[in-house]
């Protein structure tokens, strides 16, 4: 098989030219063509739901709970103990933890208690099917929807928040942004080369209502999502 042969299909030029023709341009677009006028302004007074002035940890906790996540409040000092206690209460035998300095204490504490705990970077995607709980940090959290933003960048990955039946996410209060508008505006300068391959907004446990509209949680992704909300950070 000749792997260098071109793929089937149409060329880029011919493909875009059809679009230009449908738009009644006299000639297909070229890089020299001027940029279009800017799109409609995303008017804050129309789209914003949560403002910066609100009690963000409180709004976030309420919306996250409404989305079906279990929110546990803690402090920086008590984080490790509370995480270990949560893992105990969930009877998670095997745990994988994201490789973050802030979570380093959890790994040794869990091992100390005889749990099988590993760093996420040492457990590949296929091995995650046998892990009971994944502990991750978040890139941000969104108060409006109670969403966790999990990025695959900086040595993280995609599997920890997806494959194990339990996902435990640690959110520092300072990471909470008010509104979806704020989070996506923070990407205004993002470039394709510098973005991680995967950013996922997680809002609740995996769910479906495909069978007669009956709501079922834990259909493919995690059955439970626990949020450790660190209030003094």
């Amino acid at each position: 098989m000749n792997v260098n042969a071109p793929f089937p299909g149409t060329s880029r030029g011919a493909f875009v030219a059809r679009v230009s023709a449908a738009l009644e341009r006299k000639a297909p677009i070229t890089p020299a063509d001027a940029a279009p006028p800017p799109p409609a302004t995303v008017n804050e007074s129309v789209v914003r739901v949560v403002g910066a002035g609100e009690d963000l940890p409180d709004v976030f906790a309420k919306r996250a709970a409404a989305a079906g996540m279990m929110v546990h409040k803690t402090t920086g000092a008590a984080l490790t103990d509370d995480l270990v206690a949560l893992v105990d209460s969930l009877a998670a035998g095997r745990v994988a933890i994201q490789d973050r300095d802030s979570l380093a204490g959890v790994l040794s504490a869990l091992r100390h208690r005889g749990r099988k705990a590993d760093l996420g970077g040492t457990v590949d995607f296929a091995a995650l099917y046998d892990v009971d709980a994944g502990i991750t940090d978040v890139q941000a959290a969104i108060a409006e929807t109670g969403s966790l933003v999990c990025s695959s960048g900086s040595g993280r990955g995609r599997g920890l928040s997806l494959v194990p039946p339990l996902h435990i996410a640690v959110v520092w209060c300072s990471q909470i942004v008010p509104d979806l508008v704020d989070y996506w505006a923070s990407h205004a300068g993002s470039l394709p080369q510098t973005l991680p391959s995967s950013i996922v907004l997680i809002t609740g446990p995996s769910k479906t209502a495909d069978i007669e509209g009956v709501l079922i949680t834990g259909v493919h992704g995690p059955r439970e999502v626990h949020v450790m909300l660190v209030l003094d950070a």
């Binding site: 793929f7 089937p8 299909g9 149409t10 880029r12 493909f15 059809r18 679009v19 230009s20 023709a21 449908a22 738009l23 297909p28 890089p31 279009p36 799109p39 409609a40 995303v42 129309v46 789209v47 919306r63 989305a67 590949d124 296929a126 969403s147 695959s152 960048g153 040595g155 993280r156 995609r158 997806l162 509104d179 979806l180 508008v181 996506w184 505006a185 205004a188 993002s190 470039l191 394709p192 973005l195 991680p196 995967s198 950013i199 907004l201 997680i202 809002t203 446990p205 995996s206 769910k207 479906t208 495909d210 069978i211 007669e212 509209g213 009956v214 834990g218 259909v219 493919h220 992704g221």
Partner: protein, 534 residues
């Protein structure tokens, strides 16, 4: 939730029928619609599910946005319209940026090209097992049978689509594909195809699917998805899902192929925020879907999982035809399904009656454009033009206007049949002059009331269904509440499904004249009574 008691033996299996979307052309909607209307169970599932979602949508927007809802719809519509108005520019920008992120981009004019590209990627990488997340575009191109034909086992992983695949059935709703099926049908399909003991408890059924599909993710070497949005600024593909299967399909296998129509583009991430606020609320009344996944190229060097290759197939397949000025707004559609849920016609006839992948009002408008008006001449008429779809649409697509335009095109292209043309010509003449109008309504009144007088055609409807009829039922057909149940000729089509009210004994004009209405008009347009003179 109480699981329903499990019967010892499954109910009798429904025969495995022909694929619902293999229809002879030109497609005749009426037999299927009639069958759907006669199917009481279908009426119940589709009716209650769509109503619940429609109410949920309205409540969700009202609670969060209140009076701003309409401005929000305008904004979302403007963003999409702007992108479409400059689609070639945004496409170029998107393609450059996606390539910078490491995406391999392919261009497909039609379904055959899209499938040929997918098969070639599968062949070159010796793929054996493909896991697929829900994608209307792949339904449009018929991708799954094409992959299976070259020996790539292809598994639908969205729970609804998985069940439809087991049952050799087709989706009947853009968002909730198996809205036409109940739990016993799922139980039967699982027993027959997966060899598990019969159950019709939804939670147990979902758990069976979870275990079965996890084995597939573990071994799959190809993942296929659609796309909800493409972001020109970053070259990203955005997927909005609830179950998590979409994340598995795009993360577990070493190759990910996304297939997207060119209309999915939006300019930048700030516009994604607006679209996300609209999509899930319009669709399932959720503030946002469980997973909003932004994929920007394959796994990076510093990431420890994710696919090695990401391919994106940009699909035209008739979209540049719709992009022409007068129909362009139809491409704003974000496939939320709100128009289906709001539509009084969809609620009654269900998705399969539309004879094509896209059903409901949006399907009735785009299918004739994608597949030929002469092939689907019934669809522009599969609407009451009530405007519920327009009102529900988060990007303000004026669907009623589009239906009327399609009907006009049918006349221009000579697709409308002779009888219909003759009837409308006659009607036009009747409305043309005062005397023809008066004469024809006199004749109509007499004829219809005479017909209603025939014993078998006449019955008197109680004023409100469910209430006892009034003590004194007026059965005289010359009184004003008789109904025609079996009209003759072409009118019979109408009375097949509902009764036709007989015209009143006296016309409105006569009544008006008796009241001295015309003199009042002559007096200078002054209204009687408590004069609302706006």
């Amino acid at each position: 939730m109480t699981p329903s008691p499990t019967p010892l033996t499954p109910p009798p299996a429904a025969p495995v029928h022909e694929h619902p979307l293999n229809v002879p052309l030109p497609y005749d909607l009426k037999p299927r619609a009639a069958k759907a209307i006669g199917d009481i169970r279908l009426q119940q599932f589709v009716g209650s599910a769509t109503k619940a979602k429609d109410h949920g949508r309205r409540d969700g927007f009202r609670d969060v946005f209140g009076d701003r809802y309409d401005s929000l719809r305008t904004l979302a519509g403007d963003i999409k319209q702007h992108t479409l108005d400059h689609l070639d520019w945004y496409l170029e920008r998107f393609i450059d940026n996606a390539a910078r992120a490491g995406v391999q981009i392919h261009y497909a004019i039609d379904a055959n090209e899209a499938n040929a590209i997918t098969l070639e990627i599968a062949r070159r990488n010796q793929c054996r097992l493909c896991v697929k997340s829900k994608s209307m575009v792949t339904e449009e191109t018929g991708l799954v049978p094409a992959l299976e034909a070259i020996g790539v086992e292809t598994v639908e992983t969205d729970l609804g689509e998985f069940i439809l695949q087991l049952d050799h059935d087709a989706p009947s709703h853009i968002v909730t594909p198996m809205i036409h099926k109940d739990r016993t049908a799922v139980g039967r399909a699982f027993t027959r195809e997966l060899g598990v003991p019969y159950t019709d408890d939804p939670a147990t059924l979902a758990a069976i699917a979870r275990a079965h599909l996890r084995e597939k993710y573990r071994h799959a070497d190809l993942g296929i998805s659609g796309a909800n949005f493409l972001i020109a600024q970053t070259g990203s593909i955005v997927l909005c899902t609830n179950e998590g299967n979409g994340r598995f399909c795009t993360s577990a296998p070493r190759i990910h192929i996304a297939i997207a129509g060119i209309e999915k583009l939006i300019p930048a991430t700030e516009h994604l925020a607006v679209m996300l606020k609209m999509l899930a609320r319009s669709s399932t009344a959720q503030p946002i879907t469980c997973y909003t996944h932004m994929i920007t190229g394959p796994r990076r060097e510093d990431e420890h999982d994710g696919p090695d290759q990401v391919h994106l197939i940009l699909l035209d397949n008739g979209r540049t035809e719709i992009l022409r000025k007068e129909t362009r707004e139809l491409l704003r559609c974000i496939r939320c399904g709100a128009c289906l849920n709001a539509c009084p016609v969809y609620r009654r006839i269900g998705g399969h009656s539309y004879g094509a992948v896209y059903s409901g009002p949006i399907g009735a408008a785009i299918t004739p454009l994608l597949k030929g008006l002469h092939n689907f001449p019934d669809l522009p008429h599969a609407t009451s033009l009530c405007g519920a779809c327009f009102e529900a649409c988060p990007v303000k697509i004026d669907l009623p206007k589009q239906f009327i335009m399609l009907r006009k095109k049918m006349v221009e292209q000579g697709i409308t049949d002779l009888r219909t043309r003759a009837v409308y010509r006659l009607w036009g003449l009747m409305l043309r002059w005062g005397w023809t109008y008066r004469a024809s309504s006199w004749v109509q009144r007499r004829v219809l009331r005479l017909l209603a007088r025939r014993g078998d055609s006449r019955r008197v409807m109680p004023p409100t269904a469910g209430l006892a009829p009034p003590a004194k039922v007026r059965a005289d057909p010359f009184e004003d509440n008789a109904w025609l149940s079996h009209a003759p000729g072409p009118l019979g089509e109408w009375t097949k499904e509902r009764d036709f009210p007989t015209p009143t004994a006296r016309s409105f004009r006569d009544w008006w004249k008796d009241r001295g209405g015309e003199q009042a008009e002559v007096r200078g347009g002054q209204r009687e009574g408590n004069g609302d003179t706006r």
